[in-house]
Amino acid sequence: MPKVIYVSSAGDSHEVDVPVGTTVMSAALQNGIDGIVAECGGVCMCSTCHVFVDEKYFDKLPPAQDTEEAVLEISAEERQPTSRLSCQIKMTDALDGLIVRMPAKQR
């Protein structure tokens, strides 16, 4: 099963097995990763599952849709070039080892 490494704003990292097809957001909630709030439940209405994707993996992700791009405009911590919403990242085998850093605040 592919793995995702979640890195907190304090620098702690947690490695989680994520089934293919599961989003990086919901895997975080299922595995007790604090730092992902997911207020709207994954419908692209809030920005509380914002993550900074490690540069090595960023280009492997399908590009963000307009809705996700818009939501990133309101993130609590300002967006960076590799910002994504973790609810929009579905796990694939090609993403094995994906590293995402979580912002210090989501709200």
């Binding site: 909630l29 207020e39 439940g41 419908v43 209405m45 307009d66 818009a70 309101i74």
Partner: protein, 418 residues
């Protein structure tokens, strides 16, 4: 041991207080109790993907069970609070147990408004608010063929979209002249009426139900006051909710169209907060005391109450936002449009991309967007900062709203205007 914080209600608001207290560093006991038998779950998917089978009971849980243990949140499900003894700071439960509190948060939500017509109690007449009700509707949808939805608001229309997507024959009845008329402008109502009609749903506005007909205890159709009869083997009712006020009122707290709270979300008892669907609060974006039924309101008020409890002051001020999903269309709403004296439309219906901007004396109050997500998000920023584009700028698609918002924001911060 200190009594800590007791939260009544396990919906988005109640859950949010418990989670926020822990993320704010609160060290005292936190107890979260509710009368539903399930651990806290999201309600929005109940009228959408849960019924379509794209979400499960597990996938809509706000957090897995282990979260409550690891965050030292005592979660008591299937427990009903029956009274509050404010002098003793104690809540009595239906199970005859009692729980002490230092701070009490009422996140008691609302319940379905019942349709006051003969036959509403028949088998095959269902309402939707809870997971159990959604499970019942999902089961009925397997065999039902002819469905009448009573109520052309968000819930009724989401249910209609789901039922139609499952191949059912669907009719929506609305007593007012247009859909979702209490919250959106006519152009949005028209868009959704056309959307539903194009998918094969029959929409009947300005119609009143006089009776639900039945045979051997089962619903067989809906009788309208104009003598129309609509056969139905499933009747779904979504005509709004009423706040749960009894617990607060019986404890002597002020209530109006909700449990009355001040700008800190405190009731008339300083140790008791009320938040979410049940709370009537002064809302700076409505310029009035209002009650809001939304995820945003529940989550933001939860965080605010938690901050008050840990001693972080500041009045409640969060931009209201809402959404509804019908078929593949998402309507996004920012701000409160009530009281507007002018609307302008950006984009058009032909392209399936449009936003309606609502103004009051040229001040931007709210934006409703269909397939224009950037308008919505920029709108949340503008409304939150109390800065306004002009109606002319809003209507002109050659104006880049993102750049304009940035420039206006800079101007406002330089001149000290907020």
């Amino acid at each position: 041991m200190p009594a800590g914080t007791l939260i009544i209600g396990t919906g988005q608001a109640g859950f949010g207080v418990a989670a926020s207290l822990r993320s704010e560093g609160y060290q005292e006991p936190v107890t979260l109790l509710g009368d539903e038998l399930h651990i806290p779950y999201q309600r929005p998917p109940l009228s959408k993907n849960f019924l379509l089978g794209k979400e499960s009971r597990e996938s809509i849980e706000l957090r897995p069970q282990a979260f409550y243990l690891s965050h030292h949140i005592q979660l008591l499900v299937g427990e009903r609070a029956v009274s509050i003894d404010r002098a003793a700071r104690r809540v009595d439960l239906a199970s005859l147990a009692a729980l002490p509190y230092e701070k009490l948060v009422l996140a008691v939500g609302a319940r379905n408004r019942l349709l006051p017509v003969p036959g509403a109690e028949l088998d095959g007449v269902l309402y939707l608010r809870s997971l159990d009700e959604a499970v019942a509707i999902k089961q009925r949808l397997e065999s039902a063929t002819e469905i009448v939805v009573i109520g052309g608001g968000f819930i009724g229309l989401e249910l209609a979209a789901v039922a139609r997507s499952l191949g059912k024959s669907v009719t929506v009845l609305e007593t007012l002249p247009r859909l979702m008329s209490r919250v959106v402008a006519p152009v949005i109502s028209d868009f959704f009426q056309q959307l539903h009609t194009s998918r094969g749903v029959t929409i009947l506005c300005s119609r009143a139900v006089s009776e639900i007909a039945g045979s051997r205890g089962k619903a067989t159709g809906v009788q309208l006051s104009d003598a129309t009869f609509l056969p139905a083997d499933l009747v779904l009712i979504g005509i709004g909710v009423m706040p749960n006020l009894e617990l607060a009122r019986d404890a002597g707290l002020a209530v109006a169209n909700g449990i009355a709270v001040d700008q800190n979300l405190q009731t008339t008892d300083r140790n008791i907060f009320a938040i979410g669907d049940c709370a009537e609060h002064p809302n700076p974006f409505a310029g009035a005391r209002i009650r809001l039924e939304s995820v945003q309101n529940a989550a933001d008020q939860a965080q605010h109450a938690a901050r008050q409890i840990v001693g972080r002051p500041g009045g409640y001020r969060a931009v209201p936002w809402f959404w509804t999903d019908q078929y593949d269309i998402q309507l996004q709403m920012a701000g409160i449009s009530q009281g507007h004296d002018r609307t302008v439309t950006r984009g058009n219906r032909e392209s399936n991309k449009l936003s309606v901007f609502y103004f009051q004396q040229n001040r931007l109050l709210a934006i409703d967007s269909i397939n224009r997500p950037l308008d919505h998000m920029i709108g949340r920023k503008l409304i939150g900062a109390g800065i306004s584009v002009t109606p002319e700028q809003a209507a002109d698609e050659s104006v880049d709203l993102k750049k304009l918002a940035k420039a206006l924001g800079q101007q406002a911060s330089e001149s000290g205007v907020h």
